[in-house]
């Protein structure tokens, strides 16, 4: 038995109108963008070391181990980042600073500091955990490689370079953007 109440007919008609409004709204965006100027990140053919890539400040890329204003490593090998890491990819071996061999500002430093990018999920927990602001997320993202063992980054690859003059802004590693030579097939 077919029977439409007024109510049903009303709702049916209303839904058609709502659909049309929705489509019109969506298309308005499309049409507006059609006439707007094009914004393209010209990566990787863009200029500069970033090759045209543009990042938000908060982007979490390859880590950078920072240095203090004296050029000493900030990391004191407290293992807190390793403890915070949910994917367990930070490996540290601590050692003691001596008069002759001073690496960090405190009593101890990280003799070995590895991050395994096979596992890192770029969650930023290590950065949160670090009591000395030693570990930070840089903007490096070109990590692809044909050999997984290349993805274990050692301290030397993560460390910020020693800067000749002090600046306020944190230093970003530049080495990260150069792909290791042995990477190419």
């Amino acid at each position: 038995m077919l029977h439409f109440s007024k109510q049903t007919i009303y709702t049916e008609h209303m839904s058609i109108i709502r659909d049309i409004a929705g489509i019109a709204k969506g298309m308005s965006v499309t049409f507006r963008e059609m006439f707007a100027p094009t914004v393209v990140e010209n990566y990787p053919d863009g200029p500069g070391p970033m090759k045209g890539a543009v990042f938000q400040e908060r982007f979490r890329g390859l880590h950078v181990l920072q240095r203090d204003e004296n050029g000493l490593e900030k990391c004191v090998a407290c293992f807190l980042c390793a403890a915070a890491c949910p994917s367990n990819c930070i490996y540290i071996e601590a050692a003691e600073n001596t008069e002759e061999n001073r690496i960090s500002g405190a009593e101890r430093y990280a003799e070995v500091y590895n991050i395994d990018y096979n596992r890192c999920i770029f969650c930023g927990y290590c950065v949160e955990a670090c009591p000395t602001d030693a570990i930070t997320h840089g903007h490096g993202f070109e990590l692809a490689t044909f050999n997984a063992s290349n993805l274990v980054y050692r301290k030397e690859q993560l460390l910020a370079p020693i800067k000749p003059m002090r600046t306020e802004a944190p230093v970003e590693s530049t080495s990260q953007l150069k792909e290791p030579a042995q990477d190419h097939p």
Partner: protein
């Protein structure tokens, strides 16, 4: 003694009862109410220095320290209120006032009591604006480092070192807020380097040179196993960390207070595990080629040894082969070694470095009930007689237990020794007798008054001797402890005296498993459980044919080697060339095989050297000198070395022996189905029956030491202990000596005490970095002092 009467109090509305005299803090702990504390430490004197334990007690005007208040009937206590919490928070705030809070670099971070309390009670934000007073960290000894600003002045270290260790090397300088912990030599420590102070420190003020800055507590895997040094068998918890070659041991401690030693460990247990990765550690087999020991593969070495030993056995007979076992291998390995010698090599020529006369002890106490004391008993006995030995140096845990017992329970300690040993400070009576006259004292105890003549001296009068004897005769269940000074007949005489007063005995042997070596039958004349080789026994039935005649002891083997009658010598974890002055020249013509950790003097003479795993790197059991058996757990790992157990099984396999007979694994182990006993064909597999009866499964691998433990428990009387308790990590007391059937002795036995000090430990000690640096440090400070004079 009458039980103290029980008292009921109310804490936080809960009513609880505890014996009269209990401290409030302990009473609370017993029912799970935690009262925070820094300075209170069970077993040490009360200090009431930190005031963390403040609680509100009804009808008392101010907050009271729970660590010093004894409970009284009807006491009503509030341990958790805003007032109490605020008080605790203020205490922490004061402590943190000058605390560096350098947790990220502090070794205590993650297991620091101050950290925990700050998390719990707050006060992490400081309200002080003043800068903090900084002092440089000081190194007090190779082991002990002190970071003064981190110290919260709980005085636990001072009391642990003084009361516990009786060393009194740490003290307090100045008063009030300028108090500071100071070492006994001004700027450095001269002490027993036990590390008690370090582990007892609730914060990171005292840290150890060995563990310093190496890793973090949560980064390690913790494995509870047994110390591999002296014969006391302390339980130690090893912190393990992954490394390139396996698992590294990073630290040793016993902070969980498990085991027979509570939180005690001496320097060797805490730090001298570090021989395990010494650069001289053998890491591959060696075969002598053109006169030189050269690196070889396991395959080559095993094949070579198997072939040569089989050849020698088949052409010259088992009596041409000698076997020397170890004081440092597990019970299972010792048992396996002698079974291998007796059933595969076909010889009773098996011995080990005897550091004391365990066989003589077994002969003396055989058939007696409750005749041996456990290490735990030493901490509770009402009186103790110690004849010979110097436990402070050679049995540090025993010394600790004796001291604790004297201090906490007012036990009476009687000492008879030829030297003024340190324990005399705890003794009720100390009798210094001329060297070698300890046996005369035993005769005197037994009523031979004429013996007194050779014992007296200006310091020891006839009367004092008599007094000691009278007191001992009247003693209640005393423990009698004796060193290697007493042997054979003297032990028998001592046991005779002791039986009259229901004494329990401890015979002191020197290495981690000396007792196990003896119990497991590393004797030319005794089978496992001190069963006479030439007497009645059932090992023929169990193992197949075994040689009936007594074999040669080490001295005999040495002579045979000289006479060119010894064609092969198989040495496991022992260094007879040094320990027994075994003549190296005599071994020139023998085929010498050595299983060792290091290239010892004996290994240097070998044809083939197998690199063996240390006791930290394998599973099994150790029996300490009292007869407490404990489980070893595999902690460290060094790739390329193998356990002595595995090596022996593999050599036996290469010799063509049936490994299933040697190690009962799999099913149908002893189903000899009548071959050996004719008429009783179809006889059940005894081992399988035993396993079923004990609810155990057959082992699956010939390299599983537990398979041999099954057989030990089945065949060695006195080793019937609760497996469950052992596996749970507890100690069990074994009584192989009481159950022995040793027959008459050999007469002359060669006993060579190791005479190790606190800082030496036979071969292993020579390769411990910590022990060496302590010895070196002492030498250099001594020479400095001499120069200054």
């Amino acid at each position: 003694m009458a039980e103290p009467k029980s008292i009921t109090i109310t804490v936080d509305g809960k009513s609880l009862s505890a014996p009269a005299g209990t401290l409030l803090i302990e009473a609370c702990k017993a029912v799970g109410i935690e009262v925070p504390s820094f300075c209170y430490y069970p077993g040490l004197s009360l200090q009431a220095a930190c005031r963390m334990c403040l609680v509100r007690i009804e009808k008392m005007p101010k907050l009271q320290t729970a660590c010093t208040v004894q409970i009284t009937d009807g006491m009503v206590v509030t341990s958790d209120s805003d007032e109490v919490r605020q008080a605790r928070k203020s205490m922490i705030e004061l402590l943190l006032g000058n605390h560096p809070l350098d947790c990220p670099v502090c070794d205590a971070g993650g297991e620091c009591e101050l950290q925990d309390m700050t998390f719990k009670y707050g006060a992490a934000e400081s309200r002080y604006m003043e800068g903090k007073l900084h002092k440089e960290e000081q190194q007090w000894s190779p082991v002990v480092y002190f970071d003064r600003p981190r110290c919260i002045l709980c005085y636990r270290c001072v009391r642990a070192c003084g009361e516990g260790m009786d060393v009194w090397a740490l003290g307090v300088q100045n008063r009030g807020s300028s108090s500071v912990i100071a070492p006994n030599q001004g700027d450095h420590l001269e002490c027993e380097e036990c590390g008690m102070c370090i582990d007892i420190c609730p914060v990171g003020a005292l840290t150890s040179g060995a563990y310093r800055y190496k890793t973090r507590p949560w980064e390690m895997k913790h494995v509870g196993t047994i110390c591999t040094h002296c014969g006391d068998g302390c339980k130690t918890t090893l912190g393990m960390r992954r490394s390139d070659t396996g698992m590294d041991i990073v630290r040793g401690d016993n902070r969980d207070k498990s085991g027979i030693n509570g939180d005690f460990l001496c320097i060797k247990g805490r730090y001298a595990f570090d021989y395990f990765d010494h650069k001289d550690r053998l890491r591959h087999p060696l075969i002598r080629r053109n006169g030189q020991l050269t690196q070889a593969t396991w395959e080559e070495a095993l094949e070579h040894v198997g072939k040569r030993l089989k050849e020698i056995r088949d052409t010259q007979g088992g009596q041409a082969i000698g076997v020397i076992g170890s004081n440092r291998t597990t019970n299972e390995e010792n048992y396996l070694l002698q079974k291998f010698a007796r059933t595969v090599l076909g010889t009773n020529n098996i011995d080990h470095h005897r550091t004391t006369d365990f066989a003589g002890f077994a002969r003396a106490i055989t058939g007696k009930q409750n005749a041996t004391a456990t290490m735990r008993d030493v901490a509770t006995a009402s009186s103790i007689l110690l004849i010979g030995n110097d436990p402070t140096e050679q049995h540090p845990l025993l010394a600790w237990n004796i001291r604790s017992n004297v201090r906490l329970n007012r036990a009476k300690l009687f000492i008879v020794n030829s030297r003024p040993i340190k324990l005399r400070r705890q003794a009720a009576a100390f009798l210094q007798v001329p060297e070698g006259r300890e046996s005369k004292f035993v005769a005197f105890l037994n009523g031979d008054d004429t013996a007194a003549g050779s014992l007296t001296s200006p310091a020891v009068s006839n009367d004092s001797l008599k007094q000691v004897r009278d007191q001992l005769r009247g003693a209640q269940d005393p423990i009698i402890i004796f060193g290697s000074e007493l042997r054979g007949a003297d032990i028998a005489a001592l046991v005779k005296f002791g039986s009259g007063v229901r004494a329990m005995f401890i015979c002191l042997g020197d290495y981690a498993n000396s007792r196990g070596a003896a119990d497991m039958g590393l004797y030319p004349d005794l089978f496992p459980g001190y069963v006479a080789a030439d007497g009645p026994h059932n090992f023929n039935e169990e193992w197949g044919k075994v040689p009936q005649v007594k074999g040669m002891d080490i001295a005999g083997m040495m002579q045979a080697a000289k006479d060119r009658k010894l064609a092969a010598l198989y040495v496991v974890g022992s260094n007879p060339v040094t320990d027994y002055s075994f003549d190296p020249a005599a071994l020139q013509n023998a085929f010498v095989v050595v299983q060792e950790l290091f290239l010892t003097e004996t290994a240097l003479l070998a044809e083939v050297v197998f690199p063996a795993a240390s006791a930290y790197e394998k599973a099994g059991t150790f029996t300490n000198t009292c007869g407490d058996i404990q489980l070893l757990k595999k902690a460290g790992e060094i790739s390329s070395v193998r356990s002595d157990f595995e090596i022996i099984v593999r050599v036996a396999d290469r010799m063509g022996a049936d490994t299933k007979k040697l190690v009962p694994f799999g099913k149908g182990v002893h189903a000899d189905m009548g071959q050996s006993r004719g008429a009783q064909s179809g006889e059940a597999d005894r081992h399988a029956v035993w396993l079923t009866a004990n609810n155990l499964d057959p082992r699956l691998s010939p390299f599983d030491p537990m398979a041999i433990l099954d057989e030990i428990q089945r065949l060695v009387p006195g080793y019937e202990f609760s497996r469950l308790n052992l596996i749970a990590g507890n100690d069990e007391h074994v009584t192989a000596a009481e159950h022995s059937n040793a027959g008459a002795g050999n007469g002359l036995v060669q006993i060579v005490p190791a005479n190790d000090s606190l800082f030496t430990s036979g071969t292993l000690g020579r390769y411990s970095h910590t022990l060496n640096s302590v010895i070196e440090n002492r030498r250099s400070t001594e020479s400095k002092e001499v120069m200054a004079d």
